[in-house]
Amino acid sequence: MLTPRELRSMGVLGINMRNARYLSPNNPRRYYQRVDDKILTKELAKANGLAVPESFLILESPHEVRTLVENLSRHDSFVIKPARGSGGRGVLVVDHCDRGFFVKPSGARLSGEDLRNHASNILAGLQSLGGNRDCAMVEYRVTTAEAFRGISFQGAPDIRIVLLHGYPVLAMLRAATSESDGRANLHQGALGVGIDLATGVTTRAVHRGKIIVRHPDLDAPLEGLQVPEWDKILEIAGTCYDMTGMGYLGVDLMVDETRGPLMIEVNARPGLAIQMACGIGLQPRLEAALARRNERPGESARERLDFCRLHFASNAP
C-alpha cells in the first residue's frame, strides 16, 4: 500500500479533492441537464456539427413500448439505453436478429417481450440517476473500426477523454472482457488502456489494477495501437466543452467503421480509474490546465489542443 504522501507525489487525484476542487467549482448546476439528459446532449452535439449515433426511436410513454418490436423491424442491430442513465446502467446491445429473437453480443437470446420489459423498466426510472421517470433511446450500434478489431470483445471499445475547461488532460480506451461481461466498466473487469494525448497511440493497459500487455480473451497486444482519427477525436472532445459549458468533463466516443469517431455521451462526474489506466496522476495536469487558463483566458479550441498535445504528451518532461 502506498502512503498518502507517495500518492500525492505522483499526483494521484482522490475523490474528495476531485469534488471539492475540480467538480463543484467548475460545473455549474444549471448546465447539468445538458449532460445528464442524453437526448438533449445529442441535440446539442448535432447543432454543433458533431457526429453522433443515429437515433432510431425515442420512447417516452408506455404505449410506445407496445409497438417497439414492430418499429424496430428495419434494424438488425441497435442499442437501447436510458436517456438519464449513468455508468452504463440499463444499456442493452442487440447484435443481430435471429428468427424473431434478439441476440446480444454474448449470444444470449431475448424475445420481443424481454425487449419491451427492458424498455418499460427504463421508462419507470429504474436505471435513471434519481429514480425518476425516464425516456428510452434506441440508437445505431457502432460497428467496430478495423484498428480495434483485435481488442474488441463483444463490442467496440470506447474512448474516454477527461477535460478541464476544454483542455484534454488524460485519455484512455476501455475494452470489454469476458470477465466484464461485455461491459466497459473498469471495476467490473474491463481493460483500461492509456492513450498518449499527443499521438493517439496506446501506452499501456491495466486489468483490475495490474499492468497487462495482451488482451486476456483475445490475446491481442494492447500497447502501441494507433487510435484512428485522433485529431478529430480531440476536436470533438473540445467541442463538447464549448457546447455544454461544463468545466470538468469526461467525453465518451467510439470509432465506427464507416462513420468515423462518434460522440456517445458526456459525463459531468468522470471517475478516477483513468489514472490507473494511464499511469499518470490527474492532479498536476489539471493544475497546469487551470494555470494556463488563468494565464491566457479565452484561448481557442485549437490553441487549447495544441497546448495539451505539447505539454501532456507521454514523452513530455
Binding site: 500500500m1 502506498l2 502512503t3 498518502p4 500518492l7 500525492r8 505522483m10 494521484v12 482522490g14 475523490i15 474528495n16 479533492m17 471539492a20 476542487r21 446502467r89 440499463g90 420489459n117 418499460s120 423498466n121 419507470a124 426510472g125 429504474l126 436505471q127 429514480g131 466498466n185 471495476h187 467490473q188 492509456g194 501506452t203 499501456r204 489494477g209 495490474k210 499492468i211 489514472q275 490507473m276 494511464c278 499511469g279 499518470i280 496522476g281 507521454s314
Partner: protein, 514 residues
C-alpha cells in the same frame, strides 16, 4: 471573505458557543460533565387523564409516595385551570386538584417526583402506627372457604412467620396448578372480580392473608423501567405484627428492591379518585436523571434551563433521548464515507438501522436485518419476474417486509427470544428501498458489489450503534445538547477535507507511473 475564512470563523464560533454554554452549565450550575460522577436520581411522572362531559365541579385525588412528605424530595405538579394542593393530613399524602367548572373534554394533570437513587422506595417495613391492625376476614363460605382454609393450612405448615407464610401462600396461589382447591378458589374470584378493579392474584392474596389473621391491603408500585410509559402494578402490603411490608405477589420470594421498583402508594385506599370526570387513568413515565436534585433546583431558575431537554415533559424527554443521538450517527456516516470511504446503500440508512439496533440486542438486530434483507431480495426477484412498475414494486416490498417481520416476531416469541419484538422501530420503508437498490446493483454490477455495499451499510450502522451506546455520549447529548454545535463544526471541517480516503490508498495501491 474567502470561503476558507468563512468556514474557519463559523467553526470557531460554533466551537466557542458549544463549549461555552456547556462550561457555564458545568461551572455555574454544577451540571456534572461526566456520567456517573454524582449520584443519579429517578424522575417519575404521573400523568392523570380524564374526560369531563358535564359542567360540574371536578376533584382529582392522586395518592403519592409516602416519601413525598419529605422536604428533600423534589416534586412539582402541572395543571392548567386546576387548583392544586398537597394534602398531608390524611394518612398518606395526596395531590389534590380541583376546579369549579373545567372545560368539557379531555384533561391531563401531571405530578412529577424526583428522588435520589439511594432513597428507600422499596417495600421495606414501616412501623405500624396507632393500634395494632386487626385482620378482617373476607367472609367466604361453603366449599370455597374450605378450599381457602386448605391452602392456608398448607402454607402455614411450611412457614415460620408472616414473611415466609406470605411467600408460601402466594407461591401456591400463583402456581399453575390444577389442584381442586386452587381451581375452585380461582373460579370463585373470577366470577366476582370482573366488576372490581385489581389483579386476581392480588385480591385472592389479600383475602387469604386476612383469613389467616394477617392484615393485608392493596399497594401500588411503579417499575423503574425507562423504556415506555406504564400503568401502576398492584402489590400487596401486609403487617407482620409490628411493621407493614410490601411485596410483589407475582414474585413472592423476592423482596422489592429500590433500584427496580418504586412503591408509589401504600396504606390502602385508592390510587386515584376522580369526582366529576369519566374514564380516568394514571400513566407513569420513568426517567433516569443524572443531575442531582439540588443542582436541578438551581438549574430550573437559570435561563439556560431551556437548553436542556429537561425543560420538556418527561414523556417527551424519553423520545429526545434518541433524537439527540441522530446527529452523532450522521457524524459517524460522514467520517466513514468521506474519510474512510466505505460504500453504503443510501447515505443515512445506516443511522436509522443503528437506532433500531439500540432497542434490541445487537446480535439479534443484525440477524433480523440480514434475514429480512435476504428474504426480501428473494421476493424481489420473484416480483421482478412479473414486470411491475417501480413504485408498486417497492410498495409490494414494504408489505412483504412487514409480513416477514410479523412472522419473525411470532417465531422468535415461540422460541423464547423476546428482544426481537422491538422490531417496530425497524425502518421498514428504508429497508424496502434498500432491497430494491440492492437488487438493482445485484443485476447491474453483480452480487459481489451488492453484498459489499450492504455489508458496508451494516458495518457503518454497527459503528454508529457502538458510538451511540456509550453512556457518556448519551449523557452528554442529553444534558449538553449544545455540544452538538461542536459536532456540527467537525462535520463542516470534514466537508472541506480534500485528502485521500483510506479506501483510495487501497484502490491505488498498485499505482505505477508510466
Amino acid at each position: 471573505m474567502s470561503p476558507k475564512l468563512r468556514l474557519v470563523l463559523t467553526v470557531v464560533t460554533l466551537c466557542l458557543a458549544g463549549s461555552g454554554i456547556a462550561l457555564y452549565k458545568h461551572l455555574k450550575l454544577g451540571v456534572p460533565l461526566l456520567v456517573g460522577q454524582k449520584s443519579t436520581s429517578w424522575l417519575i411522572e404521573a400523568k392523570v387523564s380524564f374526560l369531563t362531559s358535564l359542567p360540574q365541579p371536578v376533584t382529582v385525588k392522586l395518592s403519592l409516595p409516602p416519601a413525598a412528605r419529605d422536604e428533600n424530595i423534589g416534586q412539582e405538579a402541572g395543571s392548567l385551570g386546576f387548583g392544586y394542593v398537597l394534602d398531608t393530613t390524611v394518612p398518606g399524602v395526596k395531590a389534590v386538584w380541583s376546579a369549579q367548572q373545567p372545560a368539557e373534554g379531555p384533561h391531563s394533570l401531571y405530578f412529577r417526583v424526583r428522588f435520589p437513587e439511594r432513597f428507600r422506595t422499596g417495600g421495606s417495613g414501616i412501623e405500624a402506627l396507632g393500634p395494632v391492625p386487626v385482620a378482617s376476614p373476607p367472609g367466604l363460605s361453603g366449599s370455597v372457604e374450605k378450599a381457602a382454609r386448605g391452602i392456608i393450612d398448607r402454607s402455614r405448615a411450611a412457614s415460620s412467620d408472616a414473611d415466609t407464610f406470605f411467600t408460601h401462600l402466594l407461591l401456591q396461589l400463583s402456581a399453575d396448578s390444577t389442584a381442586q382447591e386452587n381451581l375452585l378458589l380461582r373460579r370463585h374470584y373470577e366470577k366476582i372480580e370482573h366488576s372490581r378493579s385489581g389483579d386476581l392474584l392480588v385480591v385472592m392474596g389479600i383475602d387469604l392473608l386476612e383469613m389467616a389473621g394477617i392484615p393485608a391491603r392493596l399497594a401500588h408500585g411503579v417499575k423503574l423501567d425507562v423504556r415506555e410509559p406504564q400503568e401502576a402494578i398492584p402489590l400487596i402490603e401486609y403487617c407482620d405484627g409490628r411493621t407493614w411490608k410490601v411485596k410483589n405477589p407475582a414474585q413472592p420470594n423476592v423482596s422489592l428492591r429500590s433500584d427496580n421498583i418504586c412503591v408509589w402508594k401504600r396504606g390502602g385506599g385508592a390510587l386515584l379518585e376522580v369526582q366529576g370526570g369519566d374514564k380516568s387513568k394514571v400513566i407513569f413515565t420513568v426517567v433516569k436523571d443524572m443531575i442531582s436534585l439540588k443542582q436541578m433546583k438551581e438549574l430550573r431558575d437559570s435561563p439556560l434551563f431551556a437548553s436542556t431537554i429537561l425543560g420538556l415533559p418527561v414523556s417527551e424527554q424519553a423520545v429526545f433521548r434518541y433524537v439527540v443521538l441522530i446527529p452523532l450517527g450522521a457524524f459517524v456516516v460522514v467520517i466513514l464515507r468521506n474519510i474512510v470511504g466505505l460504500p453504503t446503500l443510501g447515505t443515512f440508512m445506516p443511522v436509522l438501522l443503528a437506532l433500531a439496533f439500540l432497542e434490541m440486542p445487537l446480535g439479534s438486530g443484525i440477524a433480523m436485518f440480514s434475514i429480512i434483507v435476504a428474504a426480501g431480495l428473494y421476493f424481489r426477484f420473484f416480483l421482478s419476474s412479473m414486470n411491475l412498475l417501480v413504485v408498486p414494486r417497492v410498495a409490494a416490498c414494504v408489505v412483504i417486509v412487514t409480513l416477514l417481520m410479523v412472522v419473525m416476531s411470532l417465531l422468535s416469541w415461540r422460541l423464547g427470544i423476546h428482544g426481537v419484538l422491538k422490531v417496530t422501530l425497524f425502518p421498514m420503508i428504508i429497508i424496502a428501498w434498500t432491497i430494491e437498490r440492492m437488487s438493482l446493483i445485484w443485476e447491474e454490477e453483480g452480487k459481489r458489489s451488492a453484498l459489499m455495499q450492504v455489508a458496508g451499510s451494516v458495518f457503518v450502522a454497527v459503528v454508529a450503534y457502538l458510538v451511540m451506546r456509550v453512556p457518556q455520549i448519551q449523557y452528554s447529548a442529553q444534558y449538553f445538547p449544545e455540544l452538538l454545535l461542536i459536532v456540527l463544526a467537525a462535520i463542516l471541517l470534514i466537508g472541506r477535507y480534500t485528502g485521500y480516503r483510506l479506501s483510495e490508498l487501497h484502490r491505488f495501491r498498485n499505482f505505477t507511473r508510466i
